[in-house]
Every structure is written in C-alpha cells, then in structure tokens.
Symmetry: D2
C-alpha cells in the first residue's frame, strides 16, 4: 500500500528515473487557497545541491497540479501533484547493475519483484518520492494555523557541531548519518488514542517510511529506559495540563497532552558512499571491490528536516480532522 492516512489520505507513485514522482491527497478540506508558489519554499529546502554535503542533482521540482484545485482553491476532491523528472543520467546506475549496492534495496527489490522493478536510481525506493510528501506537508501545514512544526539536524556523524561533522565525512571521503529532532508547538490536547492509534504509533509508522530512518524516539526516548520513574514522570502543574518537565515528549497514553511534542530520528549514513566497497557481483556470484558512481548526498540527514516536518504535519492534520478540530469545508 502506497497510501497513508485516514481522512487526510495521501498516495504516492512514481520513480526516480521514470516520468515523474507524484502524490494524490484525498480528503483535503475544500476551500483552502493553494498555489504552486505555496509549495516552493519547502520544496527548495528538500532539494539537493544547495548545502555542502548534498547531491548536485537538481530537479526543477516544480509542482504541477493535475486535479483538485479550481480557481485557486481546493475543491474537496483529490489533489494530484506531479513532479516531472528531467535531469536524469540513468547510465550512471546501469553500470552498477551487476553489483547490488550494499545498503540499497537493489538485492531485495530484485528478489521481491522478480527483476521487474525499475532499478534506475532506486526507482520507487528513491527519496525522489519525498517531493510529493513535502508538497502534502505544506498543504497540511496550511490547514493548521496555531500549530508550528520545526525539525532540525542536531547531530552529524556523531558531532553536534554540524560543520565539523560534515568536514569529517569530506575528509574521510565517506558518508555519515545524523540525528534529526522535531518539535511541535500549539498541538491541541486529545490527538491520538491508546494502542493502535496512538500518536506515537501513527507518527512512527510514517517516520520509518522516510528512507534511511532507523530509529525513532519520543521525549526522553531511549534515555527514559535508564531513568527512575519518579524522575521520568512529568508532574502536572495546572488545569491546562502544563507539565513541569516534558520527558514524555508531549504524549501520554498515546494522546497529545498539550505540551510540546518532541521526538528524534536516527538517519543512517547515505548508502552511496564515495568509498570503495566489497560486495557480491550477481554475474560472477563472487564478491569484488567497486565504487559507487552517480551524484549522491554525503549526509541525507541534511535533507530530512523538511520531510520530517511534512510527515508530522500530515499526521497531525489527519488526527485533527478526525477529532473535528479542522473543518471539512474551510
């Protein structure tokens, strides 16, 4: 299933080197003003080639609205947005075909889809698909006036000084991972439920859908496992539910408690490292040394914040529609 969400429901399609990456957003309330320009700032943040450490491939990333917008407003019907693929050098990838790239999905995809998968640039696995998610994220953000979402890289290659972490990668001619932290202010009390619809469950579901994410923690997260209960418990201070500390990260019993929502993600180092590797050659059946060609990010975590914000906004908008805190027609 390439769909996610219950009322505000997104479906992604497309490939890295096919015609396009695309997204359909179903269940978006009618009457939201929406133009391509609204999406550009966040799409720009997602784009590579700007920051040191990100790939020089630069798609134009201009969103083309195919449906669901009329006279500058959403109609209440599915909004489909396409991002055409223009700047493609597939030959870079074809060369690698005989060696399934470690850390990439080449080998599993081939096994699962019987060799029918579009392997060029990762095909449907590619982070290119996150353009649509970022677009949907902007729409979700526009639905929520009082909620502010901010994600940041807080660590690269083990360094809190990001410049230093990146330089470490450049010096080592290797890729590095990073930590992204997201904070949400202004969340209403009451989003989520215990068990399967817990805010943690639904958020983590989508967060782990972001390529390269290998860990998610809320509030104190893994550190909580090392605390005493009396320390970890967030004492409630007033009738509005303000807590003295926020070790829970704003979620108790799966439900937002009105305090700041805080969570962190572990982003693994880019699988396409410039460093020489040794792995299986499909044709020979033996391992061999090789180097990854193509244009890649040294640290994909650098591109992650805007995607994490989008994911968060989409999940929150969906819960707010369910809880009738966003209207169906604006």
């Amino acid at each position: 299933m390439n769909s996610f969400g219950r009322i505000f429901r997104i479906s992604i399609f497309g490939e890295s080197h096919g015609e396009c990456a695309g997204i359909t957003i179903d269940g978006c309330p009618a009457g939201l003003s929406l133009a391509a320009e609204d999406l550009l700032p966040d799409l720009e943040r997602r784009k590579g080639g700007i920051q040191k450490g990100t790939t020089p491939r630069q798609e134009e990333d201009y969103p083309i609205f195919m449906s669901g917008v009329f006279n500058g407003k959403t109609t209440g019907f599915p909004v489909t947005i396409l991002f055409e693929n223009k700047n493609i050098r597939s030959e870079d990838y074809n060369k690698q075909r005989s060696i399934p790239r470690p850390g990439h999905a080449d080998w599993v995809a081939s096994q699962k889809f019987g060799g029918n998968e579009d392997y060029r640039g990762g095909g449907h696995f590619s982070a290119r698909l996150t353009t649509g998610i970022v677009a949907a994220g902007v729409i979700a953000k526009k639905l929520m006036k009082d909620v502010s979402i901010q994600a940041d890289v807080t660590e690269i290659g083990g360094e809190k000084d990001l410049e230093k972490g990146l330089q470490k990668a450049i010096d080592a001619r290797d890729s590095v991972g990073g930590i992204v932290e997201c904070r949400v202010k202004g969340l209403p009390v009451g989003l989520g439920e215990p068990y399967f619809d817990s805010l943690e469950s639904v958020l983590s579901h989508f967060l782990f859908a972001i390529p390269a994410v290998k860990g998610v923690e809320f509030g104190s997260g893994f550190a909580a496992a090392r605390m005493f209960g009396s320390l970890h418990n967030d004492a409630i201070e007033n009738k509005e539910g303000k807590t003295r500390t926020n070790h829970a990260g704003g979620i108790v019993g799966g439900i937002s408690n009105g305090n700041e929502l805080v969570f962190r993600l572990a982003v693994k180092p880019t699988s396409s490292t410039p460093k020489e590797q040794n792995s299986l050659n499909w044709d020979t059946g033996k391992t061999e040394n090789f180097s990854i060609k193509g244009r890649h990010d040294l640290c994909v975590a650098l591109r992650a914040p805007v995607i994490v914000e989008a994911v968060t906004a989409i999940v929150i908008a969906d819960f707010m529609l369910l809880e009738q805190k966003i209207k169906r027609v604006l």
Copy 2:
C-alpha cells in the same frame, strides 16, 4: 481504531476493571489447530507476580474462546477470545481520582473523553489489554513454522545485569525502565515495501502501541547515525543475500533481506512508582504531595518480551499472508 492488520487483523476491547479484556482475530486461516492450552505458556510469561519486580495482581488469565474455533480448529471466521476480570480492587484507584497520576493517561483521557472514560485501573489504557495481543501472538506464531522470534530484556535501570538493575529500583523504592531486544530468525526475503508498508513502519506502529514504549530502533538504530557509510553498509556475501554484518537489522528498503531481524525498544519506567510525587489535584487546582496506591510493577519492561514477540509475530503473519507465504486454508 482499535484494530490492526491488513489480512490477519486484530481488534481489541475491554478495560482493566470492567468485565473483561478481549480480542477478535479476523482473517486467521482456517484449519489451524487451536486450544486454550496452546496460549497458556505465553500468557503465563506475560502475567505479573512471578518475577521479582512485577505486580502481585494475578488474574487467572484463562482464555475463553467465544467464536471461530470448531472441533479444535480455526474455522476461517473471527476468533474472539475473552479474559474475564476477576481479581479487582477498584477502591485502590478511586482514592487517587482527584489527582491525575503523572505519567498515566488520567488527565488526557478525561480531557479527550469528557470524563466518560472508565478510569479504574487505567481502563482501556491498561496493559491488561495486552493479554489479547499475547493470545493473538501465539496464533500468529503457530502459523509460521520456520520463523523463530525471541525477545529479551537486555537492560534494566541502565544495568545490563538485570538482577542488579532491579535491586537498584528496590533500594531506591522507585520504578525503573528497561531495554528489550527482539531477534527473528528464518524470516523469508521480501516482506514489506518501501514507504508506508515498510517492515519498520508497520512493526514500529504496533510496537509503539505497547504501553510504555518510547523508542524503537532497527539494527544499529541510533548508533547508525554516528557511523560512516562504508562501515554501516552490510556487504552481501552470496546469492542468498547473506550479509557480512547486519547493521540494517535485516531490513533494507523497508523489505526483509533474509538476515536476522533485530530491533530494540525503550520502555519507560513504570509510571506508578512507590515514591512520593507532587502533582496537580483536580479538586483544589493546586499541586500536592501524594503516593500511588495499588499493586504495580517496579519495571514493566520485564513483562514486555512476550508482548513484543506477539506483536512481531502478528505483523509477520500478516505480511506472510499478503505475500502468499501462508495459505488461507491450512
């Protein structure tokens, strides 16, 4: 939504101090031999009062089959299992009602459900509901002959020596958290998809539904964020996809790669600590000191492994049905 799964689909209901905790398992293949006795060993593992550090409340936890089993086999129709609540001392909880317990859902539940929630013993939020999940987990395990799942507590209160960690809690008259690790052997290649149906996404969704879980990581997880890509990448060694290392924890591109599936969870310290706390009194509108009454676990992580195994088995069984690796009639 108190339901989870796509083909093998579970729905939970019940409360801690109501009539029962229960579960309905829809989509279970017909023809699986199933008796209450099959469920008892794992239910026993989940039960409190056995290990040092777990609550002395002991429900009989005997599963009553209400539907879906005939002549000792599943029929292909919904299997509903009840666990009656017998050993209840609600008065313990009523005393606490004026003070929403920190770390518990008392305050958010009251806000969200307008005071209509069954607050006794946590009501529907209670870990009592995990009895049904453990039962469904046994059924899922029985569907998979070649897959073995094992979860263990690897750390309590920051100590890898579990006895020591627990003693720390006892000495401090406080509760502690812990780390649970799960390893799955024999998983077929090809479960999961990139993006929303990634194995990490679906697993984490359910793992975060377990009460008290605040962090989930796959393979190297958060440590991956501090590695170089050349180190983190798992080189493929042979045509069966065996990798030299397993930093990915058995999942690449959201898909199982045939290597061991490995993940860890952070379990927060039990919110019901024996220690005196200071928090809001609803009636007075002011904070005050108080102590939690009732019977509680010093470390809920101790009970988590069998639940984590159940969750894992349920998710895997569902994926295997989708991928036609388990038949619809056995």
Copy 3:
C-alpha cells in the same frame, strides 16, 4: 473482513450454535447514555416466533455489555456486546450434513474453508449474527436526533396484502420472499461523495451483507431504466433543495440532497423450505429427495425491517461523524 465503517466501525463475530453472536462497535462517541433496555425493543422486533411466518426458535437475545460502557454511558472505547446462544438443537442440523442444503452456504463454505467451518445452523453465515447489527443500529439511531428511519415489508410472495402473501406460503407448504422498503426523513444534505463513497455504494454494500438480500434499488430504481429523462429528473423547487418529485430517492451524485431517502430490497424466499427437495448427497455423489428439518421462517423478509433500519442508521451515523455532524464527545 468482518468489519464495516470508517469512523463508527462495527465488527461481528460468533456462530449460530457456538457460544454467542457478538459485535464490537469502535468509534462510538463518548458520553452516549446506553443500557441494555435501550436495545430490547429493536431486538424484540428482530426475534422470531412472534409473527406468523417466523421461526419458533426464541433466543432470549439479551445483550451483555462486555466493554465500552461505564456509569451508564459510552466511554469512547470499543463497545462489545454478546448474545449468548442458549436455545440450541444442533442435532436437527447434523442430520442434514450429508446433503448440502440448496440455497444455503453449506457447499461453498465447505469448499472455501476446507471443511473446517462450523456448519451447525449455518455457523457464521447465520442470521443470528444480525442481533449484533440490530444492537449497533440502536446505538446509531440514538446518535441522531433529527433523523427518523423506517423500514417496512411492502410485499410478500408477490402480494401487497401481506396476510394474503403469507397464507399463500402456508397453503403451499413453501417459503416465500418479499420486498422491504426503507424511508429516512431528516437526513442532512451532503452525506456521501461521487464514486466509491457514494451513499448508494456504502448503503448497498451493507444491505447486500444482510443474508438473503438479492436486489437493492434507490428511488425509482429499476423503474427509472424505463423512464424518459424529463420525467425522471427531480426539479428543484427552492433554495433548500426540495424537489418536486423524488425519483432519485434522495441521492444525487452519490450525495444526500435533503429529500427523503428511499430504497427497496429484494429478499429471496427462505432457503429452508418445508417442501421436499432434490439435490446432491455428498456421500453418495448422487442427487436424492430430502426434507429440511429444524425450525425456520417461512418468510425471512418479515424479520428484515429492523435489520435494514439498523444498517441504514449505522451507515448514516458513520457519514455524519465524517462530516462532523455528530460530535466525538456528546
């Protein structure tokens, strides 16, 4: 999938001659006052043995609340209701086992479930399962103050005089079918969508789930196929959308238009006719004459109205929650 609905979501379980028939209602708003007594009148209407032409089997049909109700009100968590099976004579059915009963699911069930199905009294196929649906229907009706739903049998055995139709069956010692019509007043404008979420689509989905229903039509239905467009079109008379005629049955473009919702169902004659039949004997592989034993309705359509009302109420409540016309907490 034995579940239906998007926000107000029901799941059924149980068998005719097992422990119980049951239902779980998830997504029911919190704060609805609810007692077993509320359900009794509609359950009474569903029950056999009262009207001429319905089976003398009389379960007590008393609803047992297992979860989701506290202090006389719904909590916002799943409401599970059981109907215990008490008045069972399975031996009646065992005798028939070697001959799959024509019109019944005996043959297909055996093929599909490999002989594991509970065949006693139809097992999970039995109309006994509609007790839960009727119970959920009462809850749905209670959620909607201004909507009134009424279903009636308008024809039995081809006769509009129902007494006459039934007598026809009694005289012929045979079962007969019937037509049920349902009318809903007070429906708000705007429920449903074009295409898959059309009000007709969702209603018909559930209506065809009622055992024995073989046809559904809205408004003029099949008669519309024989009309001219100028006659069929319902002219709009005022800004409230009141139409001069109501050939559309209150739904245009899949959406309720505020006029009366009108639809009809064709209910096939009871498969368990008292008349001698000729069909396959599984053991001999040859056809033979036989008679159905057991207690059965001459005309199941007589029991259908209250079920049709329940189905309609459930569908409407779900759409009203989606359209935020019913609150999540009352």
Copy 4:
C-alpha cells in the same frame, strides 16, 4: 475516499474540464506485460460519438503511463495513468451555472463543498473519470486468464429491441435509461465471505459508484422476492457444485459457487435531456424554464457495459489476490 479495493487497489482523481482524468492502481502484481495499446479497445468501447445515442464529444482517450511500468511490464509499484483533457468547451456549462441542473450534482456539490467544487462539465462527478476505471479493468482482466466477463445492454427505454428504444428517445427528443446485464464465466469457487465481504456487497459497492446506476440485482434479484423457496433454490447436481438452475446468480452465502455470475443494473436516463425543463434559478430563487446546452448522451446505459466489465474485473482480481489465486509476481 476516492479509493477502492483491498490488495488490487485503485484511486481516481481528476475532473471533466481540468487537466486530466487519472487513476492509480496499487497492488498490481509485478511482471504483467502492459502497453497503452492493450487499453485502447476497451477505452474505445467507452468512448462517446460512435454509437447512435452517445455524445459527439470525443476525447482522444489515450492513456499516458506515469509510473509503475518498466520495460513493458508492471513493476509491482503503483501504476498511474493519465487521460489528458483536450476537447473542452467549458462555456457550454458556464451558461447553465445559475440553474442547478436537475438530476445532476450541481446543487448538492455546491452545498457540500461550499461552492469550491469545479462545476465545469460535472467536475469530479463526471463520467469522464470512468476512463481510468476502464483502464484498470483491462489490467484486471489481463490478470485472469480463465475468467471471461461480458456485459450487455439488454433494454433501452423499456424496450428489449435496442434500436427501437433509442428511436423512442430520438422521437421524443428526450433521454432514456436502460438495463445492463453482466455475466461472468470461469469464476473460481470461494470468492467472497458472508456479511461485509460478500461478493454481492463488494460488487454492488463499486457498481453503485458508476454514475447513473440506481439499482443492482443478482441472479433472479427482485423477481426472487416473488418466488417460492422450492422454486428459487438451486439444486446441486454434482460434486463440482454445478446447479440445475441459477437463480442465485452464482453467489450463495456471499461466496461464488462456481456457476455463472449473473447480475443486472438499472441505469437512469441521462439527466441532461434535450427537453425543456423547469427548475430553480439560484440567482432569482424562483423556478424557471430552461434547456440544457452541451453535448450529451441520449442514453448513458449504452456506454455502461465496458465500465461494468471493468468494475467486475477489478473486484474479482482483488478477491483472487486475497484468495491467492493470482500470484503477487507473475
């Protein structure tokens, strides 16, 4: 929700006079050979302007694959297909805007979506959206080698002689409705379940999603309501489940029984009749006489068979995937 299906899952988007009509097919098995040419014959059948009685508007209706196909085969990822809108005369529709057209969704859409809907040519309500459904239907048909589906118009304007029925409409300068019958041969035993996943339920859900459908009946349908049980019951003749008669239309207990699947639909007369009508003018608040402009079908039922076949194929393919009768990789 503009999505339908459980494993083979389609999502539609687009508008009559916007950029395109489109569809995304998720869950299509990998390895199916697929080219635009495969789709053309059925798309041609759907197209207007060929038969007497259908609209002269002729879109090129050429399918553009945007994703999910690589090297002439499906990849296992979402297949998105666009149909660009080229031949548009929106001014025809703008003229009518002050009078919500009777039988059309103009009035309800405006109420539901607050005037934000794209009203041109019916917008998202338009039968233009069925191009995508027909395309998905072809794909579904290609997945099933042994199943043959054929739908035909069996009645127009009350006449079984179709030429005569159409002439009736032309003579009256009015539109007419019709009956479509669909027959499916080669269906495996065991598709569907009792209650919500009954074959009738799922088929009718989708059939009523087709614009203008107001009635659906299976087998003898409404006529069954007038039969005796002994007549209606289909006696089983042999161990393969062949029945002597087929009043059930191939479905018993919600499950296909291996006999021919037979059902009929009532299609209402085209709402856009050439005849003068009298209805509300939004601007004046009073009713007035007016005539519909634009190019329209005299009898939309004529275009329905290929759509009905597509719907049927999609539903069957989905059930066959669920029942593991179609593989996930071909």
